[in-house]
């Protein structure tokens, strides 16, 4: 039976609900050999900052049970190089691009948004107020409702584009932050970013990451992410994008059922670069089997 894959995220209509998570999909072009990236709902770029960042010293990664810790430190080419070198190719390929933004001050967040105003081919801005791996900025904005609202309002003011706020799992009450962002004008909320973790080598007594702590991602965090997405979706009226441990169509459908309008596939792309496509194809099969449009699954869990 027919299944319309399109979903609406506030002012935006996406081809389908499968996006890729920032920092796990490079600038999108790295995946071109594997599948047609333009067939996805969209991609979230690696976090962009005003100036290029070299990132944290290695080791930056370590594996944990059903997941991984990372402390990349928001290494990125900077917004100018992104606009010059990456964006034209993404545009040419018809890829829906969500620009993920990182800054250490409210002003810089606004400046980033303004910098992108003149660029074509960006569907939305995803504001990362939840990075656990940098000393300043990031998570500090994400655990305080007033700060979160201030950033949201500043980016909204600086841009005509839809503004998505990416929430931290480390706020004691994530729904509170979500409501603050909604009130400040956010067009959608993304949850969750990684959860800070630590691993130590029992032989050398050294932390496994040079940054000491890192962000936990992968299937290990899925139950926590799903609970938080449910809490956020119940608390707000704006759309929610679900993230955290999604590796299969069933995983993605769970997030839709608890209230997410779209999902992002993250670390699963390391295990299998075609993971986002496979999640999408599985969701389409699920919709066809049940004769349902994907958007009609949103919030249907019997909770």
């Amino acid at each position: 039976m027919a299944c319309d894959p399109r979903v609406t995220l506030g002012p935006l209509v996406l081809r389908n609900p499968v996006l890729t998570a920032s920092g796990t999909f490079g600038y999108g072009l790295e995946f071109e050999p594997y599948f047609d990236v333009a067939s996805l709902g969209g991609i979230c770029t690696k976090g962009l900052s005003l100036l290029p960042r070299v990132g944290n010293p290695p080791p930056r990664l370590c594996e944990t049970a059903s997941g991984m810790l990372n402390a990349i430190g928001l290494a990125n080419v900077g917004v100018d190089a992104f606009c010059a070198d990456k964006l034209p190719h993404l545009r040419a390929r018809g890829i829906t691009v969500i620009a993920n933004l990182f800054a250490t001050s409210v002003e810089d967040f606004a400046a980033l948004a303004r910098r992108l105003e003149s660029e074509e081919g960006i569907a939305a801005l995803e504001v990362n107020i939840s990075c656990p791996n940098v000393d300043k900025g990031g998570i500090a904005f994400g655990v305080d409702p007033v700060m979160a609202a201030t950033v949201t309002a500043a980016v909204k003011k600086a841009s005509r584009r839809p503004v998505w706020i990416k929430l931290s799992p480390e706020a004691g009450r994530i729904a509170e932050i979500a409501c603050a962002c909604e009130e400040a004008g956010a067009d959608a909320l993304c949850a969750i970013n990684t959860i800070r973790g630590l691993a130590v080598d029992p032989e050398t007594w050294e932390p496994r990451l040079a940054n000491r702590t890192g962000g936990l991602s992968g299937p290990a965090i899925k139950p926590i992410a799903l609970r938080m997405v449910w809490e956020v979706a119940r608390a707000v009226k704006i759309p929610v994008v679900g993230i955290g441990g999604i590796a299969s169509a069933d995983d993605a459908i769970e997030f839709l059922l608890v209230g997410a309008s779209a999902v992002q596939v993250g670390s699963a792309s390391f295990r299998d670069p075609c993971a986002p496509r496979e999640v999408l194809e599985g969701m389409l099969r699920y919709g066809e089997r049940r004769g349902m449009n994907l958007r009609d699954l949103v919030g249907k869990a019997r909770l």
């Binding site: 920092g23 796990t24 999909f25 490079g26 072009l29 790295e30 995946f31 071109e32 050999p33 594997y34 599948f35 047609d36 690696k46 070299v54 990132g55 944290n56 010293p57 290695p58 080791p59 930056r60 990664l61 370590c62 594996e63 944990t64 049970a65 059903s66 997941g67 991984m68 990372n70 990349i72 290494a75 070198d85 190719h89 390929r93 992968g218 299937p219 290990a220 590796a247 670390s267 792309s269 390391f270 295990r271 299998d272 670069p273 075609c274």
Partner: protein
């Protein structure tokens, strides 16, 4: 869709991820295993490139695929595995027929050896893999590589026989159980002296060994290329996990800018 190439992607064959059965597994000594996979069509790869390998039935843990240097390309590519943790333990106990995701060829292989330089391969332990592939390729081109191979003890020199068939092999072990007693750098010292530094060293082994070799080559006016070691997430430039300090600041990415890079481009001190 015909796969297109990312704009800043290096040349060489495009990578594919495919599911391939293990064809056979041969123990090499007590801690090393050669695993040979059976592909549906031949793998084109250059010496020094690697594969990301993962058991198709591993589920969610171990989570990430494991980077493994290619020992050879073709329809039945192989890798040499040394057991150091859970992932390599599972590889080393796999049975023929077991399915693996095999993602290759990845990274930049070795760059050519100038005609006026003798190729000197410097290997430590499992670092032998990309160098054996290189030695075979050089031999097939009529070049005559010298191979210097070191380890703590004779058991840590897997595939020494195979290497000896395609290169002039010299061995050093710390306990003297094979070849000269001492570090592989002792062997290199002599080669650099004999050749007056007119060599290109191709190096793969523990970080400390590569750092030492790079230093010696610089002093002797020799060329030096190393195969970088890093924990990898994706293997193809998507995660930025595999950073290695770059000379002059910033980082090199082992999977996309390497693993084979100019030994002098690495900051061995940081």
């Amino acid at each position: 869709m015909e796969p297109s190439r990312a704009p800043d992607c290096h040349g060489g064959p495009l990578a594919r991820q495919l599911v391939a059965p293990l064809l056979r597994r041969e123990a090499v000594g007590s801690t090393h295993h050669v695993l040979t996979f059976e592909l549906d069509r031949p793998l084109e790869a250059e010496p020094g490139q690697f594969a990301m390998v993962r058991g198709a039935a591993w589920g969610s843990s171990p989570f990430l695929p494991r980077p493994m240097s290619l020992l050879e390309a073709g329809k039945t590519p192989s890798i040499l595995v040394k057991v150091v943790g859970e992932g390599t333990r599972r590889l080393a106990t796999a049975s023929p027929g077991e399915l693996f995701t095999f993602h290759a060829p990845l990274g930049r292989g070795w760059s050519p050896c100038p005609a006026d330089r003798t190729p000197v391969l410097v290997a430590g332990g499992v670092g032998v893999c990309p160098l054996l592939f290189l030695a075979r390729s050089l031999a097939s081109l009529g070049r005559e590589p010298i191979a210097l191979y070191g380890g703590r003890t004779a058991c840590e020199l897997p595939l020494d026989g195979a290497l000896g068939r395609v290169a002039e092999l010299r061995i050093a072990t710390e306990d003297g159980s094979s070849g000269e007693t001492g570090l592989v750098t002792r062997l290199l010292e002599q080669v650099l002296r004999d050749t007056n530094g007119r060599v290109k060293a191709f190096v793969c082994g523990p970080r400390r060994m590569m750092a030492a070799v790079a230093g010696m080559c610089r002093d002797a006016g020799a060329l030096c290329e190393v195969s970088l070691e890093a924990v990898m997430g994706c293997g193809f430039g998507a995660c930025l996990g595999c950073a290695v300090p770059r000379a002059g600041g910033g980082y090199l990415y082992a999977c996309s800018q390497g693993p084979c890079v100019d030994g002098f481009a690495v900051d061995w001190g940081r």
